[in-house]
Symmetry: C2
Subunit: 230 residues, 2 copies
């Protein structure tokens, strides 16, 4: 396939939009942190301006190298705006825990979040297009692509694929215990963290699957995070 | 306290922005569905335009009646833009499962999502301000507010509270099994749903909490969804 020109693989250069002004210690600009968060998330939120109004859509995605791929229906007017090059802000947020401090003010959450700014390009190369569709399926359920019927030419034509360079990006991470004021430390209040994780349940077969057909191990043993797709 | 003027409690009237054009069967415009999703979520994403660029922040929130409350630091320039009346699009997304179809094309996710458009108003009444801070803590960890040190006057002055009417809103919901094409039904491919839920772990005490201090039941028995705050 035609490999898209890769954006720089150097560390991200913080821009005015990606530089954390407050709580700057939570900011991370290294590619490994940004990629790990993108690879663990399942859904991103994409914000853009359309007809002068802010819009947002939650959607699946996949990262291949330094590109983030989104896909959507050619019939979706909001997705078409992204394919047409609307400026976008894309966020992936992972919630890791609730931080219970001794004071209301210092309550917080532990999270890992990537914010990415950029302008998308419609993918026109048919091999890159198919590879992106594969990457989205494999990003969500690794191992699935080999088992399913692949997209027909007609299905591919009905699916827009848009890629964004993962370059103007930053991560914001909070971990650990509450940080209370010194004068609150003697209060008789339990403080700590309630961890949160996204957990898979038992796979539920479609009623039309033959009774003897076992669910695949990638479904019965599903877990996040997964290894990156690099 | 001064009760803010309530927006209409009638069913939502779909607008051009909230009406689902595609997959219209997934659209819900009733208040009960929208409120239930808002009440179960922990984090919303808020999109707005600043200096001509789309921006987005993930943040905690709470609903009181027909208002959605956000809070942020007075030192946060993005949050100040919301307090100053920037048009916003607010989304709460709950991921319920991975939908594994027989064809790649029909893979999907089960989710519940609310999209809300509106312009925020800075809350200036001190009692409404405090009630909103209470609501955010109680939204995330019901029962917590009674146990902690409440915000001082100085802390309140450092915290902006912005409210949005929950009126130009819609929900989008996908549930159930994959919907494959008829000609794919005989393929020897397992199909079904991998359910996903946000699960709490064992509360981790801050190291400075006295050894004999037990975690509160709202932490040890934490679960989503919770009852609404109405």
């Amino acid at each position: 396939m035609q490999t898209p020109e890769q954006p720089s693989t150097d560390a991200f250069v913080p821009t005015a939009r990606t530089t954390l002004k407050r709580l700057a210690g939570r900011g991370h600009y290294d590619r490994a942190t940004v990629h790990a968060i993108l690879d663990e998330g399942l859904v991103c939120h994409v914000a853009f301006t359309m007809d002068g109004h802010p819009f947002m859509i939650p959607t699946a995605y996949a990262r291949i190298g330094n590109w983030l791929y989104l896909h959507g229906s050619t019939a979706n007017r909001t997705f078409r705006a992204l394919a047409d090059g609307a400026q976008a802000c894309i966020t992936v947020t992972l919630l890791d825990g609730l931080v219970l401090a001794r004071s209301a003010f210092h309550h917080s959450v532990n999270y890992r979040c990537v914010v990415l700014f950029g302008t998308g390009e419609k993918v026109t190369d048919s091999q890159e297009h198919m590879r992106a569709l594969e990457a989205v399926v494999e990003h969500v359920v690794p191992g699935r692509w080999a088992d399913v019927r692949w997209p027909s030419r007609e299905e591919s034509l009905r699916t827009l694929v848009v890629r964004f360079p993962v370059s103007e990006a930053s991560a914001k991470v909070r971990t650990g215990n509450p940080i209370d004021d010194e004068e609150d430390m003697s209060l008789d209040v339990w403080a700590g963290v309630v961890p949160l994780t996204m957990q898979p349940g038992t796979p539920q077969a479609d009623p039309k699957v033959p009774a003897g057909k076992a669910p695949p191990s990638y479904a019965t043993r599903y877990r996040r995070p997964l290894a990156a797709i690099d």
